[in-house]
């Protein structure tokens, strides 16, 4: 086959695949700017007749069709919960990952494996016991309670990724730094941490995305506007207005945008982080 034809063929295939990947999301985004009437009509209207921001206005409480959903609060909750739990998971995961990478101690191997396996427990199996225990502790329906849970579900993966990364950083460097006058802490902070940065960044984005998108547990642990996250909010949106697709799509866009921005910012680290932290470690 002439290479010209081949190139064209590859491009056609690529275009088609990218279409499948993008289409659903783009359709959602497009629908967010259309009216329900236009979306729901049969036969379908393919080319939007009029694009509108009404769906967003409604969500944020402007305009005529005020939707009784405090999206702004949910957004804030999501941000606070995701950022805090990501930071905590990174901190805890990093210390743990560092210990697994740098020290040998009895029970290390099984400890590592069990830590990983704890992540496999389906959220649905945990949600009620956690709910009951949390409510006895009085932290149900608080951001703190959700942060605690999200931190815990993110820790195993963070430990795993950072462990791989710290093992990539030769122990010599840490020792050299200590001899150069660093305390153990300084050596970590000035030498090992900067070198494991992309691993930590990718662990961070995974933790953030997990927290940002988590539903099964959050839906049990949050109830009021003080603690509900966006995915949970999406659900109560749909429960009240099942077929307001346009409004839902608008909300979906609001959920996606921060994740999109974040992933964009650190995508370079993401690939490097996953490869070297997870595989080579």
């Amino acid at each position: 086959m002439p290479s010209r034809t081949k190139t064209v063929l590859i491009w056609i295939v690529t275009f088609f695949i990218m279409l499948i990947i993008c289409m659903p999301g783009l359709w959602i985004i497009l629908s967010a700017f259309r009216t329900n009437g236009e979306i729901l009509t049969k036969p379908a209207i393919w080319i939007p007749q009029n694009l509108t921001l009404d769906n967003f206005r409604a969500i944020f409480g402007f305009g005529e069709n005020v939707v009784g959903i405090p999206v702004a609060s949910y957004f804030r909750n999501s941000l606070v919960i995701s950022i805090t739990s990501t930071a905590l998971a990174l901190l805890i995961g990093m210390t743990g990952g560092y210990a697994f990478a740098r020290y040998s101690f009895p029970g290390k191997k099984p400890a590592f494996l069990w830590l990983m396996l704890s992540r496999t427990v389906p959220g649905i199996a945990l949600s009620l016991p956690i709910f009951i225990i949390w409510s006895r502790l009085g932290i149900i329906d608080t951001k703190f309670g959700v942060i605690l849970v999200f931190t815990a579900i993110n820790v195993p993966f963070t430990v795993w990724l950072t462990e791989g990364f710290f093992r990539q950083v030769p122990n010599d460097l840490n020792e050299a730094a200590q001899i150069d006058g660093c305390t153990r802490w300084q050596a970590f902070w000035k030498i090992e941490f900067p070198l494991a940065k992309s691993g930590i960044a990718s662990a961070g984005i995974f933790a953030f995305l997990t927290s940002w998108n988590e539903y099964a547990l959050a839906s049990q642990l949050t109830r009021s506007t003080d603690s509900k996250t966006l995915p949970v909010g999406l659900m109560d949106f749909t429960a009240q207005f099942t077929i307001d697709w346009a409004g839902m799509c608008a909300m979906a866009v609001i959920i996606i945008i921060p994740a999109l921005i974040l992933t964009f910012l650190v995508q370079k680290h993401l690939i490097a982080g996953l490869t070297f932290g997870g595989v080579k470690g």
Binding site: I10, T14, M18, I20, I21, C22, P24, G25, I39, L40, K42, A44, I92, G93, G96, A99, R102, Y103, S104, F105, A111, L115, M116, L117, S118, R119, T120, V121, P122, I124, A125, L126, P129, I133, L148, T151, A152, F157, V159, L209, T210, N213, E214, Y215, L230, L234, M235, T238, I255, I256, A259, L260, T263, F264, Q267, I271, T275, G278, V279, K280
Partner: protein, 302 residues
């Protein structure tokens, strides 16, 4: 006792460092699991708090053993995981090879490729519920507008179409993880062995089979391990799209457990089911983890 104390003293630093991780896991995972393990031996029903003390021994487990619907859901879950993970791997591999081939605009491709990863599973569920809707769905509208069909295809009702639909959603969401990792593997692929193989007279396919693929294996296993850690997140998708229905046609363990626990409020039985589901997850993860660890060692050779 003194030996234990000595062990602790000698390893004080690493123990202190892993203790926050261990503690939070104990609190958020183990403690609830112990509680739910206990309740799986009781007739615990949410709306009757006293029933927590209603010890029924192995009754819940015995009933599960004899519950045809449960085992069908179990089998379907295994099938779902197998189909989804394998297809994700296959598509991910194809996608990565394709993107790797493209030189112009590769960065953009890579970014687009990661698009589905950012979606909340629950969003993915709604998105495909919408797209596959039998009256207003994009897919049906598209097919009808193109004149390919005049019927409303019941994607979320028909036995196989419904399974296909939830699998499609899951695969759409997770293929990018595989693609990214495999792509990273391709970037790291050393040139020498490939050139050596070409000199030795290998065809493109032989190079791929004997050089590229073995090198990619660790990357594939890590993707499998990551996915199997998270695979229960498919619950959100299925719950939104079909809720396990209709007539249990898309019932997976997780939807069954969720309904038994909350709608039926029969927590004891649901928890007994949970334990079977947990064993299944642990098996999948264990399997890929061991593979990964082997592959990690193997990779040192490159």
């Amino acid at each position: 006792m003194t030996r234990l104390r000595r062990t602790i003293r000698e390893n004080a630093v690493p123990f202190a460092l892993i203790s926050p991780a261990v503690l939070i896991i104990l609190m958020v995972v183990l403690l609830p699991l112990i509680f739910s393990f206990y309740t799986s031996f009781s007739n615990y029903r949410l709306i009757r708090p006293d029933s927590l003390w209603d010890w029924v021994g192995l009754r819940n487990y015995k009933r599960i053993m004899g519950d045809w619907d449960f085992w069908v859901a179990f089998g379907r879950t295994v099938l779902f995981l197998t189909v989804a993970l394998n297809l994700e791997l296959l598509f991910g591999l194809g996608l990565a090879l394709l993107v790797n081939k493209i030189t112009w605009g590769q960065r953009t491709m890579r970014t687009i490729m990661m698009f589905p990863m950012m979606f909340s599973p629950i969003l993915v569920g709604f998105q495909f519920k919408y797209l596959f809707n039998d009256t207003i769905g994009l897919v049906n509208n598209g097919l009808q507008s193109l004149g390919l069909t005049h019927e409303a295809i019941p994607f979320l009702v028909d036995r196989w179409l419904a399974f296909f639909s939830i699998a499609f959603a899951e695969i759409w969401m997770s293929t990018s993880i595989f693609a990214i990792l495999i792509l990273a593997g391709l970037f790291a692929l050393p040139k020498d062995p490939i050139e050596a193989a070409r000199v030795d007279g290998c065809s493109n396919w032989q190079v791929f089979k004997h050089i590229t693929l073995p090198f990619l294996m660790p990357f594939i296993y890590i993707a499998m391990a990551i996915r199997s850690l998270d695979v229960a997140r498919a619950f959100d998708i299925v719950d939104v799209m079909t809720g396990g229905g209709p007539a249990g046609r898309t019932e997976l363990l997780w939807t069954l457990i969720s309904r038994t626990a909350y709608d039926d409020a029969r927590m004891g039985r649901a928890n007994a089911m949970s334990y079977v589901a947990i064993l299944l997850s642990i098996f999948f993860t264990w399997f890929f983890f061991n593979k990964l660890m082997e592959a990690r060692k193997h990779l040192g050779a490159f």
